[in-house]
Symmetry: C2
Subunit: 190 residues, 2 copies
DNA sequence: GGGTTTCTTGAGCGATCGCTCAAGTATATA
DNA sequence: TATATACTTGAGCGATCGCTCAAGAAACCC
């Protein structure tokens, strides 16, 4: 007897992710979301409960896609190939709402407030770091990089460099492609 | 016949800088500022005109101090020494309100809105990059690094790495000291 | 001390924030 | 087709936002 919702919940989450990603947590008002998602306040709260709940869903989606796409890349190019390709790939993707990492932006914005979403963003960054560490480990096992390196340490540095690169890629006074190439070149010297 | 203000304007700007630095633009309300600076709304607007004006002054102060402290460091340790020391120094400074760079946080938060303050933050980042490039150039002239590098490109990469490092330093799941050491070690291989 | 000028104070403005809920509407089942 | 069961709508809640301004207090010059 019920009536089905007229919206695609997954699509709305993806759309919200892009808006939050671009404008941040405080920078995105419910009015913005309601306008873009074409939802009235009532439907919005029936569907998601609160702005923060939707943000958490958006973060989760973002993180899942990130890990998944590194996995796909590794299947195509192998572990070291994927790590070397990722910097260029992430700054050249023109369909992204913004170059900078959503997890990093969220963490930077909300960490000082001890907001739950900052902790969630950090936890997703840990997953991403683990993903990188696995790739470094596999590259080491394959003999693509020297065995006298700690994969976790390499992953931390790599992730840190990527965060910096992706923020730099939003600046029009910086040649992000050169930085991406230099990061990739460093991996060949390991 | 006039009456002097009872506050130290420069000290208030420094205090506001620390609050904005830590909590961001949207994350800092006038109530927060009025409470911390011990100013009533009327005095606040007599002294600074608007929240954004004060933010701009805080940004400017931040950037000036940044360039100045790199200069001091270079006098002590030489150009390459300063560049190598900076990563560790910036993440070990316990008196800072937060490890991440205020220019980067501002830029990341406000760039999507095309806010004036984002443009100002970017312009300050250019100054900082120029400062790094000068040091790389001097290090090259002194024979401390090989002459076949573009100092501007080195500076862009270095600044990008520093931004990433400083954001990573706020995560308790990352050993920022190791990253800082690795960044410094890379400079020795140039 | 009187007069002038500035600074200080705080109530409160209009706008916007995230969010609620009662009324109306559409759909699936019986 | 009748009824039950959602979903949709939008006015508007209390709180907070950045900010204004008129009144009072304090410091300076004569």
């Amino acid at each position: 007897m019920p009536r089905k919702p007229s919206y695609d919940r997954d699509a709305l989450i993806a759309q919200a992710r892009d808006i939050f990603w671009r404008h941040g947590w405080a920078g995105t008002s419910l009015k913005d979301l309601e306008r873009e998602l074409k939802l009235k306040p009532g439907s919005f709260y029936a569907a998601f409960g609160s702005k923060d709940t939707l943000y958490a869903l958006a973060l989760e989606r973002y993180a899942q896609d990130g890990v998944a796409s590194m996995g796909t890349l590794a299947e195509e190019l192998g572990p070291l190939g994927a790590l070397k390709a990722q910097p260029r790939r992430v700054i050249e993707a023109s369909e992204l709402p913004t170059k900078a990492c959503m997890l990093a932006k969220t963490f930077a914005e909300l960490q000082a407030k001890d907001h739950d979403l900052a902790a969630q963003a950090r936890s997703h960054m840990v997953s991403m770091k683990t993903c990188f560490a696995d790739l470094f480990r596999r590259a080491q096992d394959a003999g693509e990089i020297a065995p006298d390196h700690d994969p976790d340490r390499l992953a931390s540095r790599y992730q840190s460099d990527l965060l910096g690169l992706r923020l730099s890629a939003e600046r029009d006074d910086v040649n992000a492609t050169e930085i991406a190439e230099d990061i990739a070149a460093d991996l060949d010297r390991l």
